[in-house]
Structure formats: C-alpha cells, structure tokens
C-alpha cells in the first residue's frame, strides 16, 4: 500500500506538469491578452507593461520562469489585472472561503443524502422510500442557480431572516444559503447512489447468509451491508468533494461570497494568465490528491481490492 501510494504520487508530478503546460499554452493562444482593452494602449505603453510582467519574452522562457517561480519560491506570480494582488494573495483569500462553505456543504450533503439513501433502501417500496426518493429527485431538479434565487426570495425578501449575500468573515447567517444551495443537488445524487448500491448489497448472497444465521437486522446493516455499499459512493464523493471545495461560480456570483469559483471564470475571461494558472494548478492538485484518497479508501471498504 505504501509502495502504491508512493508510486501514485510520483505519477502525479508529470500529470500536473502536463496540465500546467497545456493550460499555459491554451491560455496564451486565446486571442487578446490581459492588457487588451477597448482603448488599445499606445504601443510604447503596452511594451512597457509587457516588459514589466515579462510578457515580451518568448513563450518557452515565460513558461520556464513560471515553473521556476513555483518550484523554487512557491510563487505563482502577480495578477495582471488586479494590480495590487499576487496570485498567492488571491488564493489565500479565496480558498479558505470556498473550503468553508464547500466543506460544510459536503458534510451536509453526505450525512443527509447518505441517511436518506440507506433508509430508503431498508424500507424499499414503503412510504418512507417514496418520500426519500421524492425529496432527492426534487433536490436534483433544483440546480443551484434555481435554488439560490428561491432561497434569497424566501429568507431575505420575504422573511427578512438572512442577509442576501456577502461573506462577513464566514458568519453563520451568511453561510446558510450558500451551503444549502450548493449541497442540495449533491445530496440528491448521494441519496440515489447510496440507495441503489445498498439495495444491491441487501439482495446479495452473503446478506441472505447473515440473515439466515439469525443476526439482528441492525448488525446486518451496520456491519455487513454498509461498508460494501460505500464503494460506488466513494468514487462519487471524491469527485464531489473536489467540486465543492474548489467552489462554485454560481454560488460566488449569486451570494458574493468571494470564493475561488469566481476568480477561476473571471481570470479566464480577463486573460489574467497567472491567476488562471494558479487556480488551475490548485484544482488539478486537489483532484489528483482526492482521486488517490478515494482509491485508498476502496481498499479499506472492500477487502477484495489490494494494491
């Protein structure tokens, strides 16, 4: 297992390197640049600015300098658009925000979705099952860009209980709506996946054997059924977790939370090369990391899997 982990980490390095190179080239091949504007800058001014940011060097030199900055100083460079900030500043400011509401959404979605799924499977084809499936389908058809305005309409405009947006240092009234809006559709997927995999396990031979042994139903579910039913869920949760903690543009735009999702989209549109690169590398590393964690978890829940 240690050996496997080590190998996976080794493979992650070239993966990230390829990601960096491709993103870098794609970004630079998009028409326009960070300083393209409605009022084209006089050539002299443009030359001055490009020289300041090293954009006048050949691409391979820029890429090399960029990689050197990351590896040697963990420096992702200055933002070309937000002049007083560096990429490190932007990530240091945005990532904790995204991590907070994303992490909470993850916990919320997993607990509620998982419970709904398990309960629905145990009580298959009863009122409880229909109710749980109903809720999860309802949540599935309400994507966050529909949820967000509905929540604001209810909690801010109608009831006046919660502020309509802003972060405010992560105070709980500001967290409620972003967390609900982000969590609902994930929760629905988790409930569905848990329910169907739980059903499959419950109908398997070894569960029949366990029941035949006369084990109490509680032990059958908790000890024998739950763990194996997690396998398909884990692969989904790995992806979902990265998706949630790396932020949602919709949540950031709608609730003005100031997380990374917004920087990701804005930097691509404004050709803020360095911010775009920094955020992509962060997302890429997290994806690689959680894919690895998910794989390691498989081995824990399913003894058939060995590395």
């Amino acid at each position: 297992m240690l050996n496997y982990t080590f190998r996976r980490i080794l493979v992650a390095i070239p993966t990230l390197l390829i990601l960096i190179v491709i993103t870098f080239l794609l970004m630079h091949s998009a028409p326009g640049g960070p300083f393209t504007s409605e009022r084209p800058l006089p050539p002299q001014v443009l030359a001055n600015i490009e020289a300041k940011y090293g954009l006048n060097d050949p691409l391979y030199v820029q890429l090399w300098e960029y990689l050197k900055g990351i590896v040697l100083h963990f420096d992702f460079g200055p933002s070309f658009v937000k002049k007083s900030q560096t990429v490190n500043d932007i990530i240091a400011q945005g990532f904790p925000i995204t991590l907070t509401y994303g992490g909470l959404s993850f916990i919320f979605a997993t607990l509620i979705g998982g419970t709904l799924g398990v309960v629905a499977a145990i009580r298959q084809n009863t009122f409880i099952d229909y109710f749980a499936v109903g809720i999860s389908i309802g949540a599935q058809v309400l994507p966050n860009f529909v949820m967000a305005p509905l929540l604001v309409w209810l909690f801010t405009l109608t009831l006046g209980w919660l502020p309509g947006g802003g972060w405010n240092g992560g105070a709980w009234p500001n967290l409620v709506m972003p967390v609900i809006a982000l969590a609902t559709s994930y929760m629905a997927s988790i409930a569905r996946i848990t329910r169907s995999s739980m059903l499959e396990v419950l109908n398997s031979n070894y569960i029949r054997t366990a029941r035949a042994k006369g084990l109490p139903e509680r032990t059958v579910i908790m000890r024998h059924a739950l763990k194996p039913s997690l396998v398909p869920l884990i692969s989904y949760l790995g992806v979902a977790f990265v998706g949630m903690i790396t932020g949602s543009v919709i949540i950031d735009v709608y609730f003005s939370t100031g997380g990374l999702g917004q920087s990701f989209v804005n930097s691509a549109l404004s050709r803020d090369y360095s911010v775009m690169m920094g955020v992509t590398i962060l997302l890429g590393s997290l994806t690689v990391l959680f894919a690895l964690l998910a794989d390691l978890l498989y081995a824990w829940v399913d003894p058939k899997i060995r590395y």
Partner: protein, 539 residues
C-alpha cells in the same frame, strides 16, 4: 459659494481664475441628518487598484476620487471647482498652466500636500518602470516631452511639470489645450505619497499602509467582497463633510444586487437590464435615469480588409437611415436612452447638437431614402447585399443586433449575419480589421466633444473602421487651438452624417436605484464623477 465656471466655454475666457469656498455636502433645509452616515453601494467587480496612477476601471476611479484629491474637482453639474489648487492661470497660447495650491491641504499622516507631490505623481504616471495602463492619459494631456519620457528616451526630469515652490505647480504643454484644467479632475493626475510608495512598494495601497489626501482614507479591503473608506480628519474641508463611512460591496450579479437593495442592504445599485419601466413605476423617486457621456454605434470596416459594398457611401447611408432608432431606445432598451444621429452625445459640455439632415427627417422618409440609395448603389432582389455583423457576447447587444438586422431585412432585403465573440477575442478581431460591421461604444475621457470626435481622425488608434478624411483631420487639429471649437465640431458631425463611417445608434443613460435617504447625488454630472463628501444621508 461661488462656482468656478459654469461651462467650458466660460473657462476659456479668463486668464486668471480664483474662487472662494469649494462645493461640499450642503444639507437642504428640512432634511434631518440620519444618525448613521454610512453610504453603501454595489460595484460589479473588484476594483483594479486604488493607486491613482494604476487604476483603470470606473469603480476603482470612484474610490480613488474619494481617497485622493487632484488639482481641480467637479461640482454636481460637472463644472470645475477648486481642489488642492485654489485656482490657476494660463498664458494666451493656453500651453502653460500655473496652479496655486492651498496651504492647508494635508496627507492623512499630517504631512502637507505640496507641488512636489504632483510632480512625483505625474512622472510616475508616465514612467516606463511604473507600467501604468493609463500612462496614455499623460500623452493626452500633451505634457512637454511626454513621448520621449514614456519611451524611456528622456529622463523623468524632462517632463514638462515643475514645482516652482511648495504651492505653485507649472505645467508646460506641447499643444494649446484650452480644456487642460478639466483633465486634472481625472484620477491619474492625483498626487501620490512618494515616501509611502518607496517604503511599501506595490503594497502601499493596502489599508494598513495607505496615506491619502482626499476626504476619506481606506480602512478595510476584503478582495472580491468589499472595501471601506472612512472620513479623513486631516482633509482640509473635513468640517463640511457629512458622510462618515462609504462601503463598496462587490456583487457580480445585477439581480442579486437589486434584491439586496430591496432588502435595504444597499443604498445604490444598477437597474437590472430591461426593468427600468417597471421599477420607475414602482419606485418613482428611487429609479433614476440620466444621460451619460457614452455613445453606442456600429462601425463599417473601411480598410482594405472590409467588404467592397461598404466603400460605397450610399450603402452606408442606406443602412444608417433604415435603422429606426426609436425601436432600439423605446422598445429594446427602455431605459430613457437617447436616439443618436451624431457621434457625440448631446449631453457633452459646450457641444451643440448640429442639425444633420437625416436626423430631422421622419422615419418613413428615411426608409424611403434608404431604399432609393441602396437601389442606386446597385443592390436589390437580383443582387442582394449580405454582410457579417459582429458584436461582443452579451444579451443586450444581441437584442439590439437582432432588431437592427430585422429592420434591414424587412425594409431593404439586406441580410446581416450575426456573429458574437467573447470580449477579448472581439477586441482583437476588431482591432485587426478582421470584420465587416462591428459594434463599438465609447465613453468620453473628459467632458468635451473632442474626446469623441478624435476617435474618427485617421491617426486615432481607436479608429477600428479606418475611416480617413483629410478634412476631419484638419478640423480636429485646428479645434485644439481654438477658444471656441463649436463650429469645427458641427462641421465634423456634418461630414460624419454625409460619409457615415459609423452608424450612431444611441447615447447611453445611467439607470440605477438610489435610496431616497441619499441626498445630493450629482445627477447632472454627465461623467458621473461623484464625491462621497458631497453626499449626505437624511432620515
């Protein structure tokens, strides 16, 4: 209180101008001040910077105008009033300006604001090492040697700005600019504190480091969320300032912002697209619409890359005539926008909208003329005119483009193929003359017609359609030296109406929701240069 000058034309007459008190928050009789003097407003995006020489976006410039004060300010109508300078003198050629600085102007750390601070800031603006995206403003101001300094061919000391003493600043220009003083209300000309910048580098604008000379100081900045500025007790006119605290909240989505305005979290926000008619009925005292110095147009590609059809003036006129602008302003936009028949908005100071023939015709007459012109040019059912129409991706631009192409289709049988590109790609395409007909928009950099008309001179870097007319070039060149250039501007607009290098569509209005509690908003200032210190919150 004596106003500085009422119009630009008046400012051209005097050689010496001095005034008494500045404009400030004057509480109207009958208004009681609210206990909490906090003004909260929405900004679309995080500001680019609050460094006066670096900032390039409007919301950043609004903040800079509160944090720093330049030589001159504007009052609620956009007229020049004293700022750090109590007044200025100029010579007959209007190429040397001498500003007298007030003695009581101070930085927020208590140091006096001197002429040297302006010299430092202006050199910094054009210094290649600064890499300011607004250094072209120095060029626009025609300061002596600015080109050589920007190119790094001359030392900074050669720039034509000198501190004669601590309170006298002399500026030497290479051109005669009667409206020069107006330019000193622009943020990029505001002073900056050399010692602080040298100590902290790029981080000097952080709340813990910044030193500024305006009515407010930056006290908090949470990137992508908010910035807070609070009253600067060192400001020379602090006793006449009422607003204690100004909060700018970053809210990307205009509908969210509007909801939060409704919930009372904001005092000011933009009206969501297309909702002005409804909101102005629902909130008659709070939905505001007023002219802005911006022009929306489509430009023909007249370069050699452009289609041959557009070389024919009759085709250009036909397309412009057949465009029923009232449909665009009254049915599509519905925000009180103005139909445009001239390139320069009528709201521009000292600009009289000239009578161009096609503006006074009825739409039926224009349509008839358009059909005849196009037929003359040889286009019709047997030889249909088809061209591409390019705009940058946006729902609003799309609606307008669809309306325009439909009008052309129905009235003239012309097919305009719509295409949209994402903003930066669009700018690149248009700048490379890789288009046929493209959308354009221009907002004045200062309140004078040349900020628009210069765009269509052959030398202009912004003339993406590559229209070239010797007469326009000559008239605009001459205008720079005239005390009153109205006749030149009128003539240029007439040439534009004849030659139709661009199709003027409409002139912008600003539409926003302003809480009734906020008083003194400068609705008459077409540049929307507002200063928080002029506002107050009533109960």
């Amino acid at each position: 209180m004596k106003k500085f000058t009422t119009t630009l034309a008046a400012s051209l007459l005097g050689a010496t101008m001095l005034t008494g008190a500045a404009y400030a928050a004057t509480v109207a009789a009958g208004d009681t001040l609210a206990a909490d003097q906090t003004f909260t407003y929405r900004v679309l995006d995080e500001h680019s910077s609050v460094d006066p020489q670096i900032v390039e976006d409007v919301s950043g410039a609004d903040i800079v105008r509160d944090l720093f004060e330049g030589l001159m300010n504007q009052d609620a109508d956009g007229n020049l009033i004293p700022g750090v300078a109590t007044g200025f003198t100029t010579n007959d050629e209007k190429n040397v300006y001498t500003f007298t600085l007030r003695e009581d102007a101070k930085w927020s750390n208590g140091e006096p604001v001197t002429a040297g601070d302006f010299v430092y800031a202006w050199r910094r603006l054009v210094d290649p090492a600064t890499g300011s995206p607004y250094s072209w403003f120095g060029e626009l101001m025609s300061i002596e040697n600015v080109g050589a300094v920007m190119a790094g061919e001359a030392p900074l000391e050669d720039l034509g700005v000198t501190a004669i003493d601590d309170h006298t600043l002399e500026v030497r220009l290479t051109a005669s600019l009667p409206y020069f003083a107006l330019m000193t209300t622009h943020g990029s000309t505001f002073p900056s504190p050399q010692a602080v910048i040298e100590e902290h580098g790029d981080a000097w604008t952080n709340p813990e480091n910044i030193v500024s000379n305006g009515a407010y100081v930056l006290t908090e900045h949470v990137p992508s969320e908010l910035s807070v500025r609070e009253r600067n007790p060192m400001y020379w006119d602090n006793e006449n300032t009422v607003i204690e605290k100004v909060v700018a909240l970053v809210i990307n989505d205009e509908n969210t912002a509007f909801t939060r305005w409704q919930a009372g979290e904001l005092d000011r926000t933009e009206v969501p697209t297309g909702q002005y008619p409804r909101l102005s009925e629902e909130y008659p005292n709070e939905a505001l619409s007023f002219p802005r110095l911006c022009s929306y147009y489509y430009t023909f590609n007249l370069s050699e890359n452009g289609p041959e059809a557009f070389q024919d003036v009759r085709v250009r006129q036909a397309l412009s005539y057949a465009l029923d602008r009232s449909i665009i302003t009254d049915k599509v936009l519905q925000g009180g926008q103005f139909q445009a028949y001239t390139f320069t908005p009528g709201a521009t100071a000292g600009f009289e909208v000239p009578s161009v023939p096609y503006a006074s015709m009825t739409q039926e007459d224009r349509d008839a003329a358009a059909v005849a012109l196009l037929a003359d040019a040889g286009y019709g059912a047997d030889n249909p005119l088809t061209f591409d129409m390019l705009y940058n991706t946006s729902e609003g631009h799309k609606k307008i483009a669809i309306a325009m192409s439909q009008m052309w289709k129905q009235k003239l049988g012309v097919t305009a193929v719509l295409a949209n590109q994402e903003w930066k790609t669009f700018l690149e395409t248009r700048g490379n003359q890789d288009f046929q007909l493209a959308r354009g928009a221009w907002c004045g950099d200062y309140n004078e017609a040349s900020t628009f008309l210069d765009l269509l001179t052959s030398e202009s870097g912004y003339n993406d359609g590559k229209f070239a007319s010797d007469e326009v070039d000559a008239l605009m060149n001459e205008a720079k030296t005239l005390t009153d250039a109205t006749a030149n501007y009128t003539r240029v607009e007439q040439i534009l109406a004849d030659e139709m290098p661009v199709i003027p569509v409409y002139h912008y209005t600003a539409v926003f929701m302003l809480s009734e509690r906020v008083k003194n908003w400068p609705v008459e200032n077409v540049e929307q240069n507002w200063y928080s210190r002029d506002l107050y919150i009533a109960e």
